[in-house]
């Protein structure tokens, strides 16, 4: 309930943030409602669809399964931060070129999850890409184009080294 609020201090996309939040507030609601970072989306609110995927201390998490209060002192990165830094520019370009998104609602989470795989290096197989993205629901594309885009970026990054 609202009487159990806590002060939290954290870094979001490189900016220091200090807010008072309800204990029950999820990370994704905090990002969207308190910080107006609406690039992270809410799809199922029970950890299945992956639309709220963000990075906390370098690991991808479900923004709906983590509470904002758990992020006190944490480093949180959302699609807005990853976009502005240019970290996922090649993934974004490949998604656009390959039409690996239609409605785009799953895309920020999908890109965060794909980047998590590609940061490990190497060129994953199509099956490995499918497996890694299997917690991110896309109703529009049928996934084929997404796998194509991620595979192309993996190959490009490997070739560029």
């Amino acid at each position: 309930m609202t009487d159990s609020a806590f002060d939290i201090s954290l870094t979001v996309n490189g900016e220091r943030v200090r807010e008072r939040v309800d204990a029950r507030k999820t990370l994704v609601d905090f990002l969207r409602e308190d910080l107006a970072l609406t690039g992270s989306h809410v799809g199922c609110e029970h950890g299945v669809c992956g639309a709220c995927t963000v990075r906390v201390n370098g690991e991808i998490v479900r923004g709906c399964l983590m509470l904002a209060v758990q992020c006190d002192g944490a480093k949180v990165e959302t699609i807005e931060g990853m976009s502005d830094s240019g970290e996922v520019a090649d993934l974004q370009a490949a998604f656009e070129q390959r039409n690996a998104l239609q409605c785009g609602y799953c895309t920020p989470g999908m890109i965060a999850a794909a980047q998590d795989l590609l940061r490990r290096g190497g060129v994953p197989s199509r099956d490995e890409i499918r497996e890694h993205l299997s917690g991110n629901y896309c109703r529009c594309t049928g996934y084929h184009a997404i796998i194509d885009a991620v595979e192309a970026v993996a190959q490009a990054r490997a070739g560029g080294r």
Binding site: G104, P108, R130, E131, S134, C138, G142, Y143
Partner: protein, 798 residues
């Protein structure tokens, strides 16, 4: 990256210099979506905006005895607690009927239940608060006492005399019935060498859009205007409905639709909770936001496909199909959904069964009954997945029975490619289809003979792979025959307004809407091509009833074929206007000029005469230099509606290759193919991605998706952990091929492509599973979804 190569130009009339027709150009609106800068309705926040949460009936059928709201009213943050009786004073009820579906009946439905709740999840009370969380907290303080009533849940007994009638005023539980008897069906069955008869069952499932239904309604008491930010497919339809049921004029309502997180037919209907949200804004004179949560989505987003079809096919030894017969029964919930009705899916099943084949003997019966479950209505490919599974399931069972290869049986019965125009036994009119060419293309694309040889070898090793097919037809580009003639204010027309801005760029307003399918790209391609500018000089604006031409929006695969044609024509009209200005400036004849790549040129030799920015400068800022009496018109509007044919039918065939683990019942999809014919292809990549996405949606229906209800009408799996959707790991790569048979009804010749994948995929997967299991003597599986449990039962293993 496997980016589809641009198709070689197949067009002549459309093959203008710098034409974008037939080219896979990226969509102009993607960058903001990949960067998380989209604007979905769930993102919208307005000054003084309140949030509504709904108290929903836990019972499938119950009398509302009393609602006690005092505690909720006094809770922190609560602005208002409103019951159905109060809201009924703000908004009138509606009845979902269409006059051309003769006899279809339904009962009045209110934004919030009044006196009686008719399904589990129906909203009975609204709580408006400063935040959604506070509204939900207060919902728990609303006390509703119910008197539970008997729930009618099984369609099979809905029409029995002993079963309670859900709406006493209707007399019985029959919503709609249709019968058809064409040719000499009994004679054809009697003369057939083999008759196959079986029952197909389709699991009730739903759209599971990633962004749930969302609406922000903002009544401005000072302006006497309602602005509705709405995740919808049909803004003008909703403008009409909001106005009608609030008792205000349409011009007092503005519907704004920017990004929509998935639609698939889910977001083209009237939802009581969305109507209630709009009414609440009027009542409270401030913005009110409603975003369904996932559980609310499962119990209130329209469901579809809950059909039981008894079906029969007759075939002669030489493989000629002699007759089809079906008996379809479907339960559609307690109300026919407004305004498109819940009779359309069954009606489509009757229309479409047997559609690809030249069989003249066809008998059908469809009954649509009320029940106390969530409502059913039109979801992507409406009726097609059912009709195709019934038809193609029967065809492959018949092929197996008389020992003919399933593709060969189709070759002997599909309507010949040179037989057009023609019509189906049910009366569907076909302008031009290409079943045989599509089949031949699929045959070679998938290396059918090779797969059969491999299948045989693997069977010897105890590996059971199956190959299944589905020929299909798809309804696209609907004319007024779909809804307009039945009295619904749902336009089949669409418009585009095109203007030259002061720097020579083109701004397009279109009545079709972007749901992610690429409508903006297609409209931009059409205008850029017919007007003559590079694509980056075209900006498309959609989803605003104050500013876009009146249009139907996105449904029944109409955006490219209808909206694209309007855009093409508008671009042409503006080109004529601009050339008149150019001719005036250049003292030339308009017919000797053209616009290419954003520059006015001599038509004959392409010599550059005048850049568009210079033309715009003169026309807008120095009109005094133009001849007296000459007025530049730098904006043009054109509309288009199909007239020659009620629908532009498309066709195609799908193939599924899969492996069944006969010990666990698991199905592994190996590959999927689809060859389709949507006429002129404006953007090959977008067509392929519509097909792929549609196929996977159909695979979901075949293998995973099922809204499971108990006999009391309680949904048992209303969450994404228990209701399974297709995820990346289980899905196959999908290869697409095309045949191009343009419609002559429009200059572009484009038909729709949005539903073909979903139409054929369930049937081809079903047929592949049965093909895999046939040597093991399994009973054919005809009860979707085909879960491991059902497969093991068919194998006699459990």
């Amino acid at each position: 990256m496997k980016i589809t190569d641009d198709s070689p130009p197949v067009l002549t009339a459309l093959d203008r210099p710098n034409s974008y027709i037939g080219r896979s150009v990226p969509r102009p609106n993607l960058q903001r979506l990949t960067q998380g800068r989209g604007q979905y309705v769930s993102d919208v926040a307005l000054p003084r905006m309140a949030h509504v949460a709904y108290v929903r009936s836990p019972h499938a059928h119950a009398r509302i005895v009393k609602i006690t709201i005092d505690a909720a009213k006094n809770a922190t943050g609560v602005i208002a607690v409103v019951t159905g009786a109060e809201l009924a004073k703000v908004m009138t009820p509606w009845v979902g009927v269409l006059t051309h579906l003769k006899g279809l009946k339904s009962a009045p439905q209110a934004p919030l239940a009044v006196e009686r709740a008719c399904w589990q999840g129906e909203a009975v009370c609204a709580v408006v608060a400063r935040t959604r969380a506070e509204a939900e907290d207060a919902c728990e303080l609303v006390e509703v006492s119910y008197e539970e009533l008997p729930a009618v849940t099984d369609p099979e007994i809905a029409l029995d005399g002993k079963t309670p009638v859900i709406h006493a005023s209707l007399g019985d539980n029959l919503c709609f019935e249709r019968k058809l008897d064409v040719g000499a069906v009994d004679k054809a069955f009697a003369e057939a060498d083999a008759v196959v008869e079986t029952t197909f069952r389709f699991g009730r499932h739903t759209g599971v859009t990633n962004e749930p239904r969302s609406v922000v309604a903002d009544w401005n008491e000072g302006e006497q205007r309602m602005t509705v930010y709405h995740g919808t497919q049909a803004p003008h339809m909703m403008q009409n409905l909001f106005a009608k049921h609030l008792g205000i004029a349409e011009h007092q309502v503005r519907v704004l639709t920017k990004d929509v997180g998935g639609s698939f037919g889910i977001k083209v209907h009237t939802y009581a909770d969305e109507m209630a949200t709009v009414a609440l804004s009027k009542l409270l004179k401030r913005p009110v936001k409603f975003v369904a949560d996932r559980i609310e989505s499962f119990v209130t987003d329209i469901h579809a496909r809950d059909h039981r079809v008894k079906a029969k096919i007759g075939v002669s030894k030489d493989g000629t199909i002699t007759a089809f017969e079906i008996d379809d029964l479907t339960g559609i919930g307690p109300y026919s959904v407004y305004p498109r009705t819940s009779g359309i899916e069954a009606n489509q099943v009757v229309n479409l069964v047997g559609g690809p084949y030249k069989c003249p003997n066809y008998r059908a019966q469809a009954r649509v009954v009320f029940q106390n479950k969530n409502v059913m209505c039109q979801y992507r490919a409406v009726g097609h997945p059912i009709a195709v599974a019934v038809t193609e399931g029967l065809v492959e069972l018949a092929a197996a029975k008389i020992g003919i290869d399933p593709l060969e049986l189709r070759r002997r019965n599909l309507i010949a490619d040179d037989a057009y125009p023609t019509q189906s036994a049910s009366g569907l009119k076909f302008e031009l289809l290409s079943h045989h060419e599509a089949l031949a293309h699929l045959d070679s694309m998938m290396n059918y003979a090779g797969l059969r040889a491999e299948q045989k070898k693997l069977r010897e090793k105890g590996i059971y792979r199956g190959i299944g097919f589905a020929s299909f037809i798809e309804v696209t580009n609907p004319s007024a025959a779909f809804y307009g003639v039945g009295g619904a204010r749902i336009t089949s027309m669409d418009g585009a307004t095109v203007k030259l801005d002061a720097q020579g760029a083109i701004i397009v307003h279109t009545g079709v809407t972007e749901q992610g399918q690429g409508a903006e790209a297609v409209v931009a391609q059409c205008v850029a091509s017919s007007f003559g500018v590079p694509l980056d000089k075209v900006r498309v604006i959609t989803g605003d009833t104050d500013n876009t031409p009146y249009g139907g929006g996105t449904w029944a695969s109409r955006a490219a074929g209808i909206g694209g044609e309007a855009a093409w024509q508008a671009g042409k009209a503006l080109r004529g206007n601009v050339l008149a200005v150019a001719a005036s400036i250049l003292q030339a004849k308009p017919e000797e000029l053209d616009i290419r790549n954003g520059i006015v040129v001599d038509k004959a030799n392409g010599t550059e005469r005048l850049p568009l920015d210079e033309l715009a400068r003169v026309a807008y800022f120095r009109p005094d230099t133009l001849p007296p009496g000459f007025q530049a018109e730098l904006m043009a509007t054109r509309h288009y509606v199909p007239r020659a044919w009620p629908f532009a039918f498309t066709n195609g065939i799908q193939g599924s290759h899969l492996e069944v683990d006969v010990d666990t019942g698991f199905v592994k999809l190996l590959k999927h193919w689809c060859v389709e014919d949507c006429g002129t292809i404006i953007n090959p990549q977008l067509v392929d991605e519509q097909i792929r996405g549609g196929v996977v949606q159909g695979i979901g229906a075949a293998l995973f998706e099922h809204c499971l209800y108990d006999e009391r009408g309680q949904l048992l799996n209303g969450n994404m952990a228990d209701y399974l959707v297709p995820m990346a790991a289980e899905m196959p790569d999908i290869e697409c091929g095309h045949v191009v048979s343009p419609t002559a009804d429009s200059e572009l010749g484009a038909k729709g492509a949005g539903e073909a994948g979903t139409a054929g995929a369930p049937a081809s997967v079903m047929n592949a599973i049965n093909d895999a299991l046939r040597p093991l003597g399994a009973q054919p599986l005809t009860d979707m979804p085909f879960t491991p449990d059902k497969i093991l039962r068919a194998l006699g293993k459990v």
